[in-house]
């Protein structure tokens, strides 16, 4: 089966807010252990937390930018992970085991579209990270 990459968006940057300090530390340990296990099995390729501030650039209001922080919204993205998995089912299965979910984290799993063979043939490998 072809191995594909998946983008996991960690939504709800407020996860864990209602935990006590001791519970927070415990949750942090569990989350770290989950990441370390994924790394050791080479499922986790990379991942980063995102800062709270930032800007939205769009054409609305004559190109006006909307500035952050965006963390007030429930859907705000607090970080991302890149998984390598055999199928979306496997990626979902791994995400389901994330211990932060029970503390309010929402994970959105999105397949990253593979390279188009036609493009490859034409030599337009402008985005291949392994080239």
């Amino acid at each position: 089966m072809a191995v594909s990459e998946y983008l996991l968006l960690m939504r709800s940057s407020h996860w864990g807010d209602d935990l006590s300090p001791a519970e927070l530390q415990n949750a942090m340990g569990q989350f770290t252990a989950w990441l370390e296990d994924l790394t050791s099995r080479q499922v986790l390729r990379s991942g980063q937390p995102l800062a709270d501030d930032g800007f939205v650039v769009s054409s609305r209001k004559q190109g006006a930018m909307m500035d952050g922080p965006f963390v007030e919204t429930k859907e705000a993205v607090g970080g991302y992970l890149i998984f390598r998995a055999n199928s979306i089912d496997q990626a979902i299965e791994e995400a389901r085991k994330c211990p932060a979910i029970q503390h309010g984290l929402v994970i959105e799993v999105r397949p990253i579209i593979d390279f188009c063979p036609m493009m490859e043939e034409t030599g337009m490998l402008f985005a291949n990270p392994e080239a």
């Binding site: 864990g16 807010d17 300090p21 927070l24 530390q25 770290t32 252990a33 990441l35 937390p49 970080g79």
Partner: protein
């Protein structure tokens, strides 16, 4: 970078207390709620970044500065900032360096000073007595309302209400973090010691192993009392006496229940399992408590605990010494509960009949009628005299008067033993 899995137990909880204390020292107790909120937010930021980045080199300073910046942001947004700008600038000015610039040594002293001041705020005479230890547990020790209500066998609503009222009182702004001096320090220190003693007792009286958080109350009380005894404000005989009695009793904590969680009496405890290090430390502080001519119930309670802890077995216990200490204690604190304990010692020395007489002679004995231990103690005396049905009846009465599950189990077993002998 170290992994978060290498952080010591209770790191976040203790950090939370430290940083709240530092913020309260800078911003004033009226901003306690803000201090707690930003510390919680700073810990939340650590939760979301440290699993990726690893633990920063100085995690303590990281949390402090993150919380401080959040507090400043919040105050800037608030009008209060404008009003208090000048005072505040002075207070937080020396923090404004980068994380690496915070010197650990000075930082440690500053933290201790802040914790000490905050301890006196929590135990301020304006805070109701039944709230002081709750406030200390929440803000100084970093427990949540849920954890506190669990530990104090109370409910979240009651605990939450007490905390809200205390914070409202602090928000009025006339309680300062300035340490009292002279005679006022003496009086205020008594309030602090009473709170620490209550904290310890809450943890000690019914911890059965299944409720680990209660044991943490004992550990926290010892941690705070140790700190107090180390600082010049608290380096006093009665502080050492309190610390000594906590350490000596804590040394026996793990042996007070058997493998099934049943309560074990002193005579049935496995003395080889008593914590020798804690006993040695307890005796050290008992020695230090003997300086000067101060003598209060902490000294006497510590001395009684010391007699037990240094006795090789139950039979070798120096009951005469203990009786003398109880007589002393009754002279200082003529409470019927102290007198009841004394009656048990009298029975050890002179037999159960003398014990019953001692109970009858307790001044204010009727105050003990609803106290389960009175009936349990009398039941013991009666059974020693061969009056087993009376012993069973008294034990039944004791069972009906206690809320503690482990005590109920223990007493039920006793009652069955008595009934079997009728």
């Amino acid at each position: 970078m170290a992994s978060v899995l290498e952080l010591t137990d209770n790191f976040f909880r203790h950090e939370s207390g430290k940083v709240v204390a530092l913020l309260v020292k800078s911003l004033g107790p009226e901003h306690l709620q803000l201090a707690e909120d930003v510390v919680q937010e700073a810990l939340g930021k650590a939760l979301k970044t440290w699993p990726f980045t690893g633990v920063p080199e100085n995690p303590s300073a990281w949390i402090t500065l993150t919380a401080k910046n959040l507090a400043l942001d919040a105050l800037r947004r608030d009008q209060i900032f404008r009003r208090k700008q000048i005072q505040m600038f002075g207070a937080v000015h020396h923090w404004s360096g980068k994380v690496e610039e915070v010197e650990l040594d000075n930082f440690g002293e500053e933290v201790e000073d802040a914790l000490l001041r905050f301890m006196f705020v929590c135990c301020h005479p304006e805070i109701p007595e039944n709230t002081r230890h709750v406030l200390a547990l929440k803000s100084l020790c970093g427990f949540s309302v849920r954890e506190i209500s669990h530990a104090l066998l109370s409910n979240e609503g009651t605990i939450g209400k007490r905390l809200t009222r205390a914070k409202e009182r602090l928000a009025e702004g006339d309680i300062s973090t300035t340490l009292p001096v002279g005679e006022e320090l003496n009086i205020r220190l008594d309030g602090v010691l009473k709170t620490l003693y209550l904290l310890f007792n809450e943890g000690y009286k019914a911890s059965t192993g299944e409720n680990l958080i209660r044991e943490e109350l004992c550990t926290e009380a010892i941690r705070l009392t140790s700190m107090l005894a180390r600082l010049s404000v608290g380096n006093r005989p009665r502080v050492h006496a309190l610390l000594s009695l906590m350490l000596l009793n804590n040394a026996r904590l793990g042996t007070r229940v058997d493998h099934e969680g049943n309560v074990l009496l002193l005579k049935d405890q496995d003395r080889s399992q008593w914590d020798r290090n804690l006993i040695a430390l307890g005796l050290f502080h008992l020695t230090r408590s003997a300086a000067g001519d101060e003598l209060d119930t902490f000294h006497l309670q510590a001395a009684i605990a010391a007699v037990h802890c240094t006795s090789p077995d139950y039979e070798a216990t120096n009951w005469n010494a203990i009786l003398g200490l109880y007589d002393h204690m009754l002279a200082i604190d003529p409470s019927p509960i102290v007198a009841l304990n004394r009656a048990v010692v009298v029975a050890q020395l002179q037999g159960a009949e003398a014990g019953i007489t001692a109970v009858e002679e307790i001044r204010g004995r009727d105050q003990l009628d609803s106290y389960y231990l009175l009936h349990a103690v009398l039941a013991d005396f009666e059974s020693q005299l061969g009056r087993h049905s009376e012993a069973a009846r008294l034990t039944e009465k004791a069972i009906s008067l206690t809320d503690s599950e482990s005590e109920k189990v223990f007493l039920t077993r006793r009652r069955e033993e008595f009934q079997a002998q009728i």
